[in-house]
């Protein structure tokens, strides 16, 4: 059965000055999968994310999300797309002058006509779903720990019940316990909400714990995609180094118990 393609990237080219980041990059993301994006530092993982969500105008190529080209879409078409995706930035990117609840309410306030009480109740629900304690609702981002900020960022990304969430390094900077809790949370939310997840990460444990498929960025394009098992067979110096290094073995052992 051919899977429904939610995001289709074709011939993407990104360039900063003389520095070409991506060239001829193709990528498909299917409904209901968790796609991990890995690559060395500076291979443009975050730039790829920014290109897909329209924060970075690419030099060439097309990016289609739900069949809408994000480069040429009108404002109204874009608004429809934006209702169906959620983005969690690296450090949460919470609005620092709003409490956690107000942060989660912000997308609803902007995009739905719900009354304040319903909005607050739904925000509280999302906050509970990402595993934050009730007392976190009325705290400001500067009063949260790093892990809580990430959870709050995820709650805001989930506010409108999106089809796709983009997660930029969700476990970076978390302690191992917090990181594996976060992995389990992503996996759990993914199955119960039927989410499609676009996950940029460096964390091998996260790859093992959450991803259905992994795309490796190298040499300015998506070098190869596949499951971890498939990628371990790939004969490319960087890919082999990545999936066969000491950390990869430790992560593999951990994943297999």
């Amino acid at each position: 059965m051919p899977k429904e393609v939610l995001i289709e990237v074709r011939g993407l080219k990104n360039q900063f000055g003389p520095n070409v980041i991506h060239e001829d990059l193709d990528l498909d993301i299917h409904r209901g999968e968790v796609l991990g994006i890995v690559g060395g530092s500076g291979t443009g993982k975050s730039v790829l994310l920014r290109s897909i969500v329209g924060l970075q105008a690419p030099r060439a190529g097309s990016v289609k999300v739900f069949g809408t080209d994000v480069r040429t879409a009108s404002k109204a078409e874009m608004a429809k797309v934006e209702n169906r995706w959620g983005v969690m930035f690296q450090d949460g990117a919470l609005f620092s002058s709003l409490t956690v609840r107000e942060n989660v309410e912000a997308p609803m306030r902007e995009r739905t006509g719900l009354d304040p009480e319903t909005r607050a109740a739904l925000a509280d629900l999302k906050i509970a779903m990402v595993g934050l304690p009730p007392k976190a609702r009325s705290l400001y981002p500067s009063e949260l720990s790093g892990g809580m900020r990430k959870r709050a960022g995820l709650a805001r990304a989930l506010a409108l019940d999106p089809d796709i969430v983009f997660l930029d390094e969700p476990t970076a900077g978390l302690d191992p316990i917090g990181a594996s809790e976060f992995d389990a949370l992503i996996r759990n939310l993914q199955t119960s909400l039927g989410l499609t997840v676009f996950l940029v990460t460096h964390d091998l444990d996260t790859l093992h714990a959450t991803c259905d498929r992994i795309a490796v960025l190298a040499e300015r394009k998506v070098l190869v995609t596949g499951t971890i098992r498939e990628l371990m067979e790939v004969d490319h110096p960087w890919v082999r180094e990545y999936f066969h290094g000491p950390r990869a073995h430790a992560a593999l052992l951990a994943a297999e118990g």
């Binding site: 739905t112 719900l114 109740a121 509970a128 779903m129 400001y140 981002p141 019940d161 939310l189």
Partner: protein, 356 residues
Amino acid sequence: MSLRGRLTIETLPETQRSLGAAEAGGQIDMAAVEALDTAGAWALLQAQKRAEATGHALEIVNLSESHRHLLETVAAAMPEPERRRRTIPGRPDDGLANLGQEVAQGLRGSLTSVGFFGEVVAHLGALVLHPTRLKLTPLVHHMQEAGWNAVPIVSLMGFLIGIVLAFQGSTQLKPFGAEVYVVDLVAISILRELGILLTAIIVAGRSASAFTAAIGSMKMREEIDAMRVLGLDPIDRLVLPRLIALVLLLPALGFIASLAGLLGGGLMAWIDLGITPGMFRTQLLANTDVTHAIIGLVKAPFFAVIIAVIGCHQGMQVSGNAESLGSHTSRSVVQAIFLVIVVDAFFSIFFAVWGL
């Protein structure tokens, strides 16, 4: 009853309306529901809770596997309702408490300002003993930023003030046939007061805000803490170069503004009253003592200290969020301008008592 269609966040109001009738209990048939998200699940569970509260049972039947899973996840996370009590600051009935808090806060604020000023003075003293500790590159950088780059706006401002004074003065003095005293009016008011005061106000707006924003954003990104643990003193590295740059260059800026003011006044006097540049010069030299210019310039370093210390201190007080950066920046400009004017008033009284 049976539901059909999409139960999502977009259709939530309709869902809630149709669920209103379900409070009497019974069954909800979900067979025809196409899409369910957390908002829809929340509405279903709310309805179930309300039905239970009135002693009825509401059963949800014919769920698909994925919908059942979603419903269970949402049920597990259902937040217990809490009654929120909003405290609105500035509510009339706690006006007295607010006033007290504000006064206490103001006092505490001025106390820490004095403390900061003392710290800066102590560092300045240490610098006099070890002059090599002063880094020249940042000093020159701030002299360019706060001083040299302000020359165009300050001279334009001085020129325009000169024009305004000469014009207003001439209309007032003409009926008395005392047009020639326009020269004294322009010269004394600009040299003694306005040139330096308005320069200080412009520099307070330009540089106090820049100091606060720069130091404040360093504070937000923990750069100040990083400096401390590296053994770099933030006051030595950040405050003193800015302070010394302003103390050196504010008098120069005030001098430039005063010259531009005299130029503007002279031009206006020439156009409006026919006082030629030659006459202007003679009258200026004969009647305006050089003490006026000195009194004006003496005040400049004091204003510079006020602007730099307040700008840097507000920057140091910035805390975690972006809003605090904004409020401290605006506070730094307001306080700097206010204090410059207050100190100027004290100088006026002081010089008047001394008979200068």
